[in-house]
């Protein structure tokens, strides 16, 4: 069983490849990427246009699947179907489920759930994500955990954070850091600044994030632990990460699509679908995040996909929970705001959404090299579409980009050689080009 993707624009940062090539897949792996691979009878051939990008499958390293515990928000099945529709071939899920992903039983449960793509658990760093006692990290690693985090809950006690990082260093596992000093953020529900003053909402100062990044950079220096800072949002945090990387510390970072596309100025109507943690910040912060993507300070883009049921968001702004969904808009937002605006090259886009995320958490994938698993996303970079959350595969509708017009979309997804998704639009391509 062979599949040939013919004539697309192949972009693979892992081989520094960007040009029109054919990709030959056999069973679950890639056989070769080459010019004009001859077609044989045994092959299923997908003819692509040179406007269609053939890239290593996209990877989202920050997703809340809400499973176990909150099936009204999302399940492993609904969340991974949303991921596939968004062009992803692998996701990392966060441990703040009920019960928490902090023991063998819950990890076994997770593995048993139905999913057509890889789900890599990021296990809890402390028991019940309470920031008090470390989890059995070596055991959890054996069961497939790819990193440790108390995402959503900062480990406020620096001694506990040190212990967690010391174990991570021993196990050569990344500590995924949600950087927030919860005393400074307090009851804040948006960025502290001009707009929080105008709206009369309690603000979260940038320092709530940056002081924690400062602390954990130093704890990385102390312990040798690889710290991955997720959803970095403030320009002051970027400055610290840039300096730490220059010093050669084991630091990586990701940013979300919403933090590079939206600012706190959007909040004037108190739309709860724009509330998340960390909050939308200012234009100057957006500028700093984009610069950090350009110069490599930030390695990856991850969604922090955080589904909620409708009633949970239909409340006063200061009472509703933090979080927005992102799996089905991530690629479109990134292409619209970073590629079509000329801020990142196509190669950089693929690096931040596939190769980079794989490297941050040491995951398989992120490459089209011969022998690699055939996780492949086909992207139409020019396809224009309007975001309509009612069409989403996700169970949730708390999308900050509802109604936005985006340019660029995943149109075909292969996982381990199997075609999982193909956009209606792509089916028509062979007819269109004769």
């Amino acid at each position: 069983m062979k599949t040939l993707l013919k004539g697309g624009r192949v972009i693979d940062p892992s081989q520094n490849l960007d040009g029109v090539y054919d990709v030959l897949i056999e069973a679950d792996h890639i056989v070769s990427v080459d010019k004009d691979i001859p077609v044989s009878e045994e092959m299923t051939v997908h003819t692509l246009t040179s406007d269609q990008w053939v890239v290593p499958g996209l990877i989202d390293i920050h997703v809340h699947l809400r499973d176990p515990g909150f099936p009204h928000r999302e399940t492993v099945e609904s969340g991974t179907e949303a991921a596939i529709a968004g062009g992803f071939t692998a996701v990392c899920c966060m441990p703040n489920t009920q019960p928490v992903l902090d023991d063998t039983l819950t990890l076994e449960y997770l593995k048993a759930q139905k999913s057509r793509i890889a789900v890599y658990p990021i296990a809890a760093a402390t028991k019940n994500i309470e920031g008090k006692e470390p989890t059995e990290m070596a055991t959890l690693k054996k069961l497939g955990a790819v990193g440790f985090s108390d995402d959503g809950h900062a480990i406020m006690n620096a001694q506990i954070a040190r212990i967690v990082m010391t174990y991570c260093a021993m196990l050569d596992m990344p500590f995924v850091c949600h950087a927030e000093d919860t005393n400074l953020s307090g009851r804040g529900c948006m960025h502290e600044g001009h707009y929080s003053a105008l709206l009369g909402l309690p603000g979260v100062p940038w320092a709530a994030e940056t002081v924690m990044i400062a602390r954990d950079i130093e704890l990385s220096r102390l312990t040798g632990c690889h710290v991955h800072f997720t959803h970095v949002s403030a320009k002051e945090s970027i400055a610290l990460i840039r300096r730490a990387k220059a010093e050669g510390l084991r630091i990586t970072a990701d940013v979300t699509p919403h933090h590079i596309a939206l600012t706190d100025a959007e909040l004037m109507e108190y739309d709860a679908d724009l509330r998340m943690n960390p909050p939308l910040r200012t234009q100057a912060d957006v500028h700093a995040l984009v610069e950090a993507l350009q110069d490599g300070t930030v390695d990856a883009i991850a969604t922090d996909h955080a589904p909620y049921a409708r009633g949970e968001k239909n409340q006063a702004f200061d009472c509703c929970p933090n979080g927005v969904i992102g799996l089905e808009t991530s690629l479109g937002v990134v292409l619209t705001h970073l590629y079509h605006s000329g801020k990142l090259t196509a190669m950089q886009i693929v690096e931040k959404m596939s190769t980079g995320p794989a490297q941050c958490l040491h995951l398989p994938g992120g490459t089209l090299q011969a022998g690699a698993p055939a996780d492949i996303t086909v992207i139409d970079s020019h396809f224009q579409w309007q975001v309509d959350p009612a069409q989403f595969k996700s169970k949730a509708r708390n999308c900050p980009f509802k109604g936005h017009t985006l340019q660029g979309k995943a149109v075909q997804v292969f996982s381990r050689g199997r075609e999982l998704f193909v956009d209606e639009y792509v089916r028509q391509i062979p007819d269109l080009i004769g």
């Binding site: 105008l198 709206l199 108190y270 006063a316 702004f317 009472c319």
Partner: protein
């Protein structure tokens, strides 16, 4: 002043903030209020107005209730303590329930900033939302009655030095006043402890030649949460007394949105000579003007 001859600029269905009011709209409220001062007239007969107060309020709720009754509207006061809100019904569901019963306007006070904007976005033209104070956001009718009171005394606020003293950060009254007064060209100075007011100027500088000093109520929980070290020190630094007022213009007017902590943000003697009673009196007529503009059928 005739309200009949005046061409109306008023098209809005909701009053959720002072931030979005235009100068023309502000003056239209002032003109309507002046025309309605001291009279009762059945302009809103047949209209139903519900007061939905999720926070304690005597003055504002009574003021809105009387304003509605002086215009012959029917008024329902929802007793939140015994209503469905206590059973966990959301504000949106409560509002929809009242809308289904034919209520024309909801006057809302709530501890969460933005609920009036959220409801206005939800209901659009189906009914009117009137903000009677939402969290730390705005209290537009208070700012409009404060303006009316200042105009009575000063004729204009353009170029006047108006000092607002106290917990600016948490004050919806300060926000609404700041928007309206700056739109009309007043020189507004904000003063308070740096934990309760960003970039405050020294009180002495602000008070120099001031035309109006507006004291804000100090919520006593600001001390327990550590934002101010003690009430005594607050009084010493920011409490308005006769001695501090020496710096202002000799005929300076002192205002307070109430309820006062006599002896904390304002001394008792200053309070007794202030415009507080006039503010309360004007509150009813300004709210009559607001209700008339929002609810009276136009055209025909």
């Amino acid at each position: 002043m005739s309200t009949i001859a005046k061409k109306t600029v008023w098209t809005r269905r909701h009053l959720v903030d002072a931030h979005s009011l235009t100068v023309e709209e502000i003056f239209e409220v002032m003109a309507e209020a002046k025309a309605l001062a001291g009279i009762k007239v059945p302009l809103l007969a047949g209209k139903v107005i519900a007061n939905l107060f999720y926070e304690n309020s005597t003055r504002t709720r009574t003021s809105f209730e009387l304003a509605a009754k002086y215009l012959s509207a029917d008024v329902v006061n929802l007793d939140i303590a015994t209503s469905s809100a206590q059973k966990g019904e959301s504000l949106l569901d409560t509002a929809e329930t009242l809308a289904a019963m034919g209520v024309n306007a909801l006057v809302i006070r709530h501890s969460s900033s933005g609920v009036c904007q959220q409801l206005a976005s939800h209901f659009k033209n189906r009914l009117s939302i009137i903000n009677a104070g939402d969290g730390m956001h705005e209290h537009p009718s208070q700012a409009l009655l404060d303006l009316y009171t200042m105009l009575e005394k000063l004729q204009t606020v353009a170029g006047k030095k108006i000092v607002i003293v106290g917990d600016i950060l948490h004050s919806r009254v300060a926000r609404s006043n700041l928007h309206i007064l700056t739109k009309l060209g007043a020189e507004v100075h904000l003063v308070g402890p740096p934990t309760l007011c960003s970039n405050p100027e020294p009180l002495e500088e602000a008070l120099e030649d001031a035309d109006v000093v507006m004291c804000l109520r100090l919520q006593l929980e600001r001390q327990t949460s550590g934002l101010i070290p003690s009430l005594a020190e607050y009084r010493e630094l920011y409490g308005i007394d006769r001695q501090k007022l020496e710096l202002a213009k000799p005929n300076v007017w002192v205002m307070h949105p109430g309820p006062m902590n006599r002896g904390v943000e304002i001394t008792s003697d200053v309070a007794d000579d202030s415009l507080i009673r006039q503010q309360v009196r004007n509150g009813v007529i300004v709210r009559m003007a607001i209700l008339k503009l929002l609810l009276q059928e136009t055209g025909g």
